[in-house]
């Protein structure tokens, strides 16, 4: 079996069309908690097109990464897992880290899997907590079976990797001193790249993205109609929250699929989740039950969401939500 003689905990940042996804700061928190035990140092890697990574690299270096490796190349401008995995593998072979954390995002999950196979690494997917076991191996918790079970998983050989569920860790704050930014060479001549990144159509609505949102207001069948989402948007706006939905309303065509929370939608872990007119069937809970604080607004006090909620508000959401929005505005003055 392959040994893992490497040293250093790496966090891979996600840069989406110039914008740094804040999950990197969550990875840095997770890495630093491991580093308190293993004392091997925390580094970060950011990949992107020529001239695209500098502000992100600087920001990451100021928030607790001792070194930030920058991989820039025209082939890394859009996300292509083949290209990203090859560029990272080359760097890993040179620098030999022991552990790598990536965000459990669409790109992060597929990149991690491709990279893990290429490096014959062990990979723990979509974890919500990390630790080192008695032999110093990476160990993690991951929810599975729609949140019905929590599994403790561990890497047994090779380079140790994990994808970390967004919002599972606090975001690392500014550090007292800044780390160094290191431009690393990228040589695609041996990659044999076949896929081609052909384009990107940004989400038009400029809404806050669900999976990294700190607050989410979600609506379900209790809204009564697509028009009911105006109430949800009002409340989301007042709170600075993203908009989520149950499958029932997505299937009814009241809102787009990308808003769906749950087993067949997004798994989210915000600090605040406000469920309006959502009964709380297990498939929905699978995507949100680990939220820090849950508020339920529902006419049925017996439904699972009301029983689960930290704050259960019984009543007709068509009356409660406007009253809450008015109260927030009043408080803000």
């Amino acid at each position: 079996m392959a040994e893992n003689p490497g040293k250093g905990i790496w966090c891979v940042a996600e840069l989406r069309h110039g914008a740094l996804v804040p999950t990197i700061f969550e990875l840095l928190s997770a890495a630093r908690s491991l580093d308190q035990v293993s004392k091997e140092g925390v580094c970060a890697v950011v990949l992107g097109g020529p001239g695209k990574t500098a502000p992100a690299a600087k920001e990451i270096a100021s928030r607790g990464a001792q070194r930030v490796f920058v991989l820039e190349h025209a082939l890394l401008d859009g996300f292509l897992e083949e290209a990203y995995a090859r560029a990272l593998k080359d760097l890993i072979e040179r620098e030999k880290p022991s552990k790598i954390l990536l965000p459990a995002s669409v790109a992060g999950r597929s990149l991690a899997a491709r990279l893990a196979v290429a490096c014959r690494a062990g990979l723990l997917g979509d974890v919500t907590a990390v630790a080192l076991d008695s032999s110093g191996n990476l160990e993690a918790l991951r929810p599975c079976y729609g949140g019905n079970l929590l599994a403790t998983v561990a890497v047994r050989r090779g380079l140790q990797m994990a994808t970390v569920r967004p919002m599972a860790f606090p975001r690392a704050a500014q550090a007292s001193s800044s780390g160094e930014v290191v431009a690393a060479p990228v040589d695609p001549s041996s990659w044999g790249l076949r896929g081609r990144f052909a384009g990107f159509a940004p989400e038009e609505s400029k809404e806050i993205d669900l999976s990294s949102a700190e607050k989410i207001v979600s609506g379900g069948r209790g809204l009564g109609s697509a028009k009911g989402f105006e109430l949800i948007r009002d409340l989301a706006h007042a709170l600075g929250a993203a908009v989520g939905a149950s499958r029932a309303v997505v299937d009814s065509g009241w809102i787009a699929y990308r808003h769906q929370v749950g087993l067949t939608g997004r798994a989210v872990r915000p600090k605040l989740y406000v469920a309006c007119g959502i009964s709380g069937q297990v498939q929905h809970l699978a995507g949100m039950s680990s939220s820090d604080v849950i508020v339920a607004i529902n006419s049925d006090p017996q439904c699972p969401m009301m029983k689960l909620a930290n704050f259960a508000v019984q009543g007709d959401l068509h009356q409660i939500i406007p009253a809450v929005v008015a109260e927030i505005k009043k408080q803000r003055g």
Partner: protein
């Protein structure tokens, strides 16, 4: 075009009975079915087959002997052959090892019936949920791959164009074939099996390949997987919350907003 779909047999219900003593799912009498995400992969394969004359769809499932039923469900929908990857030596395979076994099977299929051009998977399973198998399979095969695909606007014998749903929008990626694609819910509306299909599936012979047939690299599979499940347990239950007091919506709203303020959400 030779298309392969990878399916997994998983619990059909989301309400799983948990044995509190062992922290495991009680498997006795548990209803099993095709992983819901894989139903979209099957449907997409069948649509491609209808679009591209001369195509065939083979379905692979790595699992227990009972997973043969999942393969029959796929056959009932119109897939051409089902192959179960089963061997006690495959037990304890993690998701990368699972992908390794699927890779060995795709290679064997390519040899037996002509080059496989496209492998379709579901985005993730509803039990393990790692969402890694498709990408890992692409890596083992050394084929280009794309995950979370919401649409395949273009496919011919040499190339496939896919739209990938990202957190911030939609990427378009071109993959020369062969390639691996994992699809999300919403890419299509899966069909229901016909009576004729069901009858034929009942009688169909499902092949079974073990290590003797696959000759997978034993250092990568089963108990040699790079990761292990140390234990499982039910998650901590949330402590019971409070019912927000008040008679009118305004009183309730005032109480709630006060609490949210104390928690610094406002």
């Amino acid at each position: 075009m030779n298309i392969v779909v990878c399916v997994k047999q998983t619990p059909a219900s989301a309400n799983l009975p948990i044995d509190l003593a062992t922290g495991r799912i009680k498997t006795e009498g548990l209803q099993l079915g095709v992983n819901p995400f894989d139903e979209y992969a099957i449907e997409e394969a069948l649509r491609l087959k209808e679009r591209l004359p001369g195509s065939s769809v083979s379905v692979l499932s790595f699992g227990a002997a009972a997973a043969e039923e999942a393969l029959r469900s796929a056959l009932a929908l119109g897939c051409d052959e089902g192959i179960l990857l089963y061997d006690p030596a495959f037990e304890q395979s993690d998701s990368l090892a699972t992908a390794h076994l699927l890779c060995a099977a795709v290679r064997k299929l390519s040899k037996a019936k002509g080059a496989v051009a496209l492998v379709l998977c579901g985005k993730q399973t509803n039990d393990g949920e790692s969402g890694q198998v498709g990408a890992a399979l692409g890596a083992w095969l050394d084929w280009p791959a794309a995950s979370c695909v919401k649409k395949i606007p273009q496919a011919d014998d040499s190339k496939i164009v896919v739209e990938r749903l990202m957190e911030d929008g939609v990427d378009t990626v071109e993959l020369p074939l062969p390639a691996v694609v994992s699809v999300i819910k919403g890419i299509n509306e899966p069909r229901l099996p016909s009576l004729k299909g069901k009858m034929a599936a009942k009688k169909a012979v499902v092949a079974r390949w073990g290590q003797a047939e696959l000759a997978a690299d034993v250092s990568q599979i089963g108990a040699s997987s790079a990761s292990v499940v140390v234990k499982t347990a039910p998650p901590e239950t949330r402590s019971a919350g409070m019912t927000v007091p008040g008679g009118s919506p305004e009183e309730k709203a005032a109480f709630l907003v006060q609490k949210l303020k104390e928690l610094k959400f406002i």
